[in-house]
């Protein structure tokens, strides 16, 4: 592509400037209400600029720049390569749709929340873009912290409720545990840099540090913990199901669609470009953690009855699948199978892109439902396809996409992932070659569970009878919201029907990270836009044209030969005349088989009243097992330790000075 070399980076910097300006302009909304309608559309323009810049960067050479903006003598390094470019495209498209939705959100929320969201949201967008282009640990950590704080404020938008504040605190806490791990990882790498390296914190210098296998392993584990906390890998996923339900829906979309991918980006950046060649156990670790996360998320999302908690656990599941793909890529890379590593990586990145599209779509649609009905509980919804037909159509596309059903995009990444798993037989270690195809079975199980969950979600929210009388007055959402849904739905369909183009976009990233030369295991192209792995093809355009043709011929034939139209009548219901909304499956009922089969994986608290209870109540609550096996014991442990530590406090200044002296002496004794 013939574009000026500075154009992509210029576009990103332009978008950053635009976002910062818009962010501070939001503060003026109370004084100058006229500017309010322009705030979020301008943010969307910025998002489109970054997406465009990212697409340009994918086709072009890496661009580097040093900005003299940090502290004196500590400049910022920025770099736009294929990896940054891909994630800029992902976040640009997704945040463009979210900005459109927020434009509608602003119209209906008149309290100052809109202005606050305007400020924090655009700072968040800017910090995310900065993370993607940062080329040193210093700028990276500053942008990371800005992202953590601004997203925290967005999560606690509705800060008057105690539950919101608690969820926000949990989010902030895990975010910072992760940030500490990342900081230590960078610190270890910087300490290994050759003495006298100028600007040892730049990514170039960190890569040149090339620590030994032991230290590289430590850095890998720290990076996995740090970025895993952001992405929601087991066991650090607990913030997702708490933070997503309490945040405003467009912000939940942003959390799931984009911010989780920032964790994935960080993991890829550190593990693939900063660290030396991976050891096999890295790949196995990421693969096992990823698959465990995926299964756990799928099971817990199947038993939820809150729309947003369900979607949040489903995000945990999808992140797990992405991580499994990355683990597989690391494993292939460790054994020098770069071509296969590129295949696994393409599958993981494709799934990241898909998840950004369909999960944002689902969260935005959930926001519309929430606004129209004021209800987040699946048990009080139903039949909305009649009241909100366009939202229901958009959500149907999202549902089919996340269920991994062809012809939508979720299936393409699942297909690629399964092909990558099948290729694991090429690994030179027999036990690995034997065990890893079982991961494919787990992936299939997770995909099947995802389909189960999404049928439950869509069926209960949009189909059936309204479970509450007031649902009959629900109305379709506004133009902005529907535009946002439509845009994401179009991207879901396009990424499903034209996989060759998406893979052409991802391929430079896979080559950059794995060092696979011109060849990858996925062949693409041709007029049919097909994808081929080892002679196995998936050509969606031909298949779905054929399906549409058969369907059309079927309709025409049936109509031509039997022109009698149908008759509308009351529901038959096996002849039973009284049908009420209470007779339908509830969310709990739909999840019951899962609870039954996977009892040992779940912690179920049942409330069974005694026989002479005057006010009997039946309840069964499924809880996250990890709270009880990990977090609560951990909290009790900390409590015990600090209770003991309290003995060291004497409230006398002399004793504290003594402590200081002792510390100094010890440090001096150990100083080299």
């Amino acid at each position: 592509m013939n574009v000026p070399i500075g154009l992509p980076l210029g576009l990103v910097l332009g978008a950053l400037t635009l976002w910062i300006l818009v962010a501070f302009a939001s503060l003026l909304i109370p004084r100058v209400p006229r500017i309010a309608p322009a705030i979020f559309p301008l943010g969307a323009v910025g998002a489109l600029l970054t997406a465009f810049a990212g697409a340009l960067a994918l086709g072009g050479p890496p661009i580097q720049m040093v900005l003299p903006w940090g502290l004196p003598g500590l400049p910022f390094h920025i770099r736009l390569d294929a990896l940054s470019g891909f994630f800029l495209v992902l976040s640009g498209i997704t945040t463009c749709a979210i900005s459109l939705d927020l434009a509608g959100y602003r119209q209906r929320e008149h309290y100052p929340a809109a202005a606050r969201i305007g400020l924090q949201y655009h700072i968040l967008l800017a910090s995310v873009a900065l993370i993607f282009i940062a080329d040193d640990a210093y700028l990276f950590m500053i942008a990371w912290e800005a992202m953590a704080l601004s997203s925290y404020f967005l999560v606690v938008t509705d800060h008057r409720t105690a539950a919101v504040r608690e969820a926000g605190f949990l989010y902030l806490l895990i975010e910072h545990v992760g940030a500490l791990a990342i900081l230590v990882a960078f610190g270890i790498l910087a300490s290994r840099a050759a003495p006298g390296t100028p600007l040892a914190y730049s990514f170039g210098a960190l890569h040149a540090a090339a620590p030994g296998p032991m230290m590289a392993g430590v850095v890998f584990v720290l990076a996995l913990i740090g970025f895993g906390a952001k992405a929601g890998l087991l066991p650090l996923h607990v913030w997702l199901p708490e933070a997503h339900p309490v945040a405003p829906s467009p912000i939940s979309a942003l959390l799931s669609g984009v911010l989780l991918k920032v964790g994935i980006y960080g993991l890829l950046r550190v593990v693939f470009t900063l660290l030396p060649a991976p050891a096999p156990w890295w790949g196995v670790t990421v693969l096992v953690v990823g698959l465990a996360t995926a299964l756990f998320g799928a099971l817990l999302s199947a038993v939820q009855s809150d729309m947003k908690r369900l979607l949040a656990y489903s995000s945990v599941e999808n992140i797990g699948l992405i991580a499994a793909g990355i683990g597989l890529a690391l494993l292939f890379l460790a054994y020098g199978l770069t071509v296969l590593a590129a295949l696994a990586l393409i599958a993981a990145l494709y799934h990241s892109l898909n998840h950004a599209f369909f999960k944002s779509l689902l969260f935005l649609g959930t926001g519309s439902v929430l606004h129209a009905t004021g209800e987040r509980n699946l048990g009080r919804l139903g039949g909305l396809i009649h009241r909100m037909p366009q939202t229901a159509l958009g959500m149907l596309i999202g549902t089919l996409a996340i269920a991994g059903v062809p012809p939508l995009n979720g299936f393409v990444s699942e297909w690629l992932m399964l092909q990558a798993f099948l290729k694991a037989t090429a690994l030179p270690r027999p036990y690995l070659a034997m065990a890893i195809p079982l991961g494919a079975a787990l992936t299939a199980l997770v995909a099947g569970l995802a389909a189960y969950v999404m049928v439950k979600f869509y069926g209960i929210v949009f189909l059936g009878r309204p479970r509450e009388a007031r649902l009959a007055s629900a109305t379709e959402s506004g133009v902005w919201e529907r535009a946002a849904l439509g845009m994401l739905a179009v991207f879901c369909v396009a990424a499903g029907l034209l996989p060759a183009y998406i893979i052409a976009l991802i391929r430079p990233v896979a080559h950059l990270l794995t060092g696979a030369g011109g060849r990858t295991a996925v062949a693409t192209g041709g007029p049919a836009a097909d994808i081929v792995v080892a002679h196995a093809a998936y050509v969606p355009s031909v298949l779905w044209a054929a399906l549409a043709a058969v369907g059309l011929v079927g309709v025409l034939l049936v109509r031509a030969r039997h022109p009698r139209s149908m008759r509308r009548a009351p529901v038959w219901n096996c002849g039973y005349p009284v049908l009420t909304a209470r007779m339908q499956d509830t969310a709990e009922g739909f999840g019951q088989p899962i609870r039954h089969i996977f009892t040992s994986f779940l912690r179920i608290r049942r409330l069974r009243p005694g026989p002479d209870d005057p006010e009997p109540r039946y309840e069964s609550v499924v809880e996250d097992r990890l709270w009880y096996v990990l977090y609560l014991p951990l909290a009790r442990g900390f409590q015990a330790v600090f209770d003991k530590a309290r003995l060291l406090r004497h409230r006398r200044i002399a004793i504290y000075l003594l402590y200081t002296l002792a510390t100094l002496v010890i440090l001096l004794a150990f100083a080299p």
């Binding site: 494919a440 079975a441 080892a534 058969v550 007779m583 088989p593």
Partner: protein
Amino acid sequence: MTLDLVVRQALQTLFVIAAAPLLTGWIRQCRAWLGNRTGAGILQPVRELRKLFRKEPVVASEASALFVATPYILFAAMVLAGAIVPMVATRMPLAAAADAVALAGLFALTRVFAALAAMDLGTAFASMGARRTMLVGFLAEPALLMVLFTPALISGSTSLIVIVRHLAGHGFVLYPSMAFAAAAYLMVTLAENARLPVDNPETHLELTMIHEALNLEYSGRYLALIEWGAGMKLLVYIGIGVALFLPWGITQSHGLAALPGAFALFAVKLAAAGAGLAVIETLLAKLRLFRVPEFLGTAFLLAVLGLLVRYLLGS
């Protein structure tokens, strides 16, 4: 040459569409014989379909567009599946456009749509059926994929064409791994097609039905399309089984001369499979719903055993 491809493709597709009701009729007839009954003849499903197409369909007034569109989607998807599986010939344009995993995806598509359409009216039986269908589906899918992986490992590709060429090209070699896979595949086929012991296609016994519960509100041509589609699904499953485990006789030549023989051989295989199915259904009783996970778990483990045997013995 190109015309050849189109002719082969069209003939096989039409064969699948036409043979599906006959296969259903044949299985019912065999079951009747095994039960010492006369039976209604193998043309009975054709008569039933004709009757249903003639009747005016009654659709619930609360039904949405999804409910009306679903029968067409199910039917079209099964026709497409019938066109993809190489049952009589390997040189077919659509067979090259999708592999076994895409085929599994196509089945998942029909399952999701059937379940959603069932939930559309909010009746108790239909949502129960939707839940159970999805349950069987997500348990059967991993087993199905594991089954497909064994021949995929032997031939090096998940494409059914490549598998057929590889397996048929080596003469009558018996792979021990394929025996395990075939047993697992049989169990998955029974579950996915709502046959005994997972579901009983003959009854509307309210508390045990799975597949029938989905169709309770359909009538007229919609019901006809769904029933026809279900028949094609069974045929396609047998077709996949034939391609994986008995690929001999599937023509790989360019001309059309071998086609009649291939069709005849495939019809014989179908008839044998249908008779076998009738025997199985006569001998087995229906399982409790919560024994189904064990049934499919067994299928999964058999498939995994097949995979391991393939690794350890290389055969």
